[in-house]
């Protein structure tokens, strides 16, 4: 028994050390790749170039005039789905950006990571399918009307829940950091 436990501990420790070392070697490049991917999605959603530095608070960035970028994760049917969202909250007339009438709330979603079966859930990948881009700038109420998504991981329930939770997170965020022009 003692011999078995010792052997298991040694093997576990060796595997852990290898992973720790590899994490140290690859972490920088992985982070860089993920950031580049996120920035490309953000620039496309916003339809304008991004500033060099973006500041995140609780995985939320932006302002009520420009719109908020949100990194969000929601549980799908068999695994997590990571979203990147651009949310424009409702704005009264006097808070709308000059020359613009961004008054209706709008939510655009992109899926950045998922464990959906390739070939079945490809429609959710904005690079392969225009399904999500076609739903851009819809209100939360419109997102709740989704009724045609069935995948092993990605379900309409997960997307509806993501839309609602994103709205809730922005509400908390704007309570903490009120809109200032």
């Amino acid at each position: 028994m003692f011999k078995t436990l010792t052997a298991l501990t040694l093997i576990g420790a060796a595997c852990g050390l290898l992973l720790f070392a590899m994490n140290g070697i690859t972490r920088g490049d992985i982070e860089k790749n993920r950031t580049q991917k996120a920035r490309a999605i953000m620039a496309k959603l916003l339809k304008q170039p991004l500033p060099d530095k973006i500041f995140w608070v609780d995985d939320i960035s932006g302002s009520c005039q420009l719109g908020y970028f949100i990194k969000h994760a929601e549980n799908g049917y068999s695994g997590p789905i990571n979203f990147f969202a651009l949310y424009h909250p409702n704005l009264p007339d006097d808070e709308a950006p000059r020359g613009k009438t961004t008054r209706q709330e709008q939510l655009s979603l992109r899926v950045t990571r998922h464990q959906e079966t390739p070939g079945i859930g490809d429609f959710i990948d904005h690079k392969r399918n225009s399904y999500l881009p076609d739903l851009d700038q819809q209100s939360i109420a419109q997102w709740q009307n989704l009724d045609n998504i069935t995948g092993a991981t990605i379900t309409q329930r997960a997307i509806k829940k993501a839309a609602l939770n994103i709205q809730t997170r922005i509400r908390y965020h704007t309570e903490k950091y009120p809109c200032v022009e």
């Binding site: 078995t4 595997c15 070697i25 690859t26 991917k37 390739p118």
Partner: protein
């Protein structure tokens, strides 16, 4: 000895067409040569790492807990493969990530660990891993090439995902329109894999000639005898 270990893993006991192991990633990822090569390299890396480690540790791996140990070692090398791909071939990673992660459950790798690496010295385990990985890569690349050619009309498309800017000019356009678009979809994968495996079987049977025929007859006779004995 080593040559036998290599050719047995690569040809006679090929994990794909002889043992039908690892078919899930094989069918799912082989829709292009670039994807197939990415999975073949990752699977080969995990197989080589797992076989080598398990053979080196075979005297300290407790027999009662050998399967958890094998899975732990295979999972470690799979995670390393995932990290390396995500760091250095990010676009390819985003396309085949799911199937890289499930290498850990690939019966081919666990099978070689249990049947070979845990009982043989490290040299033979490495040769066996190289042979099996080569066999899996041959099956993946053959299926990937046929599917890409029929489904897209091209060969070596998107190779830059794997080898960087060097592979940007490698694409060969053989047909301007795809002769069989079904080939890149899952049903096409099943059909073409079935035809490919049948072709390999037929080729092997032709090369073996009368010996193989006699073996089949012998096996059929033995089976028939067994049936007769069971139902006199």
């Amino acid at each position: 000895m080593s040559n036998n270990d290599f050719s047995r893993g690569a040809i006679e006991n090929n994990p794909a067409w002889a043992q039908l192991l690892g078919l899930c990633p094989l069918l799912a990822v082989s829709n292009s040569i670039a994807n197939a090569l990415g999975l073949a390299l990752a699977s080969g890396f995990v197989l080589l790492g797992a076989n080598t480690s398990i053979s080196l540790l075979r005297k300290i791996i407790p027999d009662v807990a050998r399967l958890p140990c094998f899975v732990l070692i295979i999972a470690t090398f799979t995670t390393v493969a995932v990290m390396v791909l995500e760091a250095y071939a990010f676009d390819l990673y985003t396309r085949i990530a799911l199937f890289i992660q499930i290498i850990v459950t690939n019966c081919m790798i666990l099978g070689r660990a249990e049947a070979f690496a845990s009982r043989q010295p490290v040299g033979r385990a490495i040769v066996d891993a190289l042979g099996t990985a080569t066999g899996f890569a041959i099956a993946l690349l053959a299926l990937g090439a046929v599917r890409e050619l029929l489904g897209n009309g091209t060969l070596f498309n998107d190779m830059e995902l794997l080898v960087g800017s060097l592979g940007a000019d490698w694409q060969l356009t053989i047909f301007t329109s795809a002769p069989l678009p079904l080939a890149v979809y899952p049903p096409g994968a099943f059909l073409l894999a079935g035809l490919l495996f049948a072709a390999v079987k037929a080729l092997t049977a032709t090369q073996s000639g009368p010996t193989a025929k006699k073996e089949v007859e012998k096996e059929t006779g033995t089976a028939n005898d067994a049936v007769r004995r069971a139902n006199p």
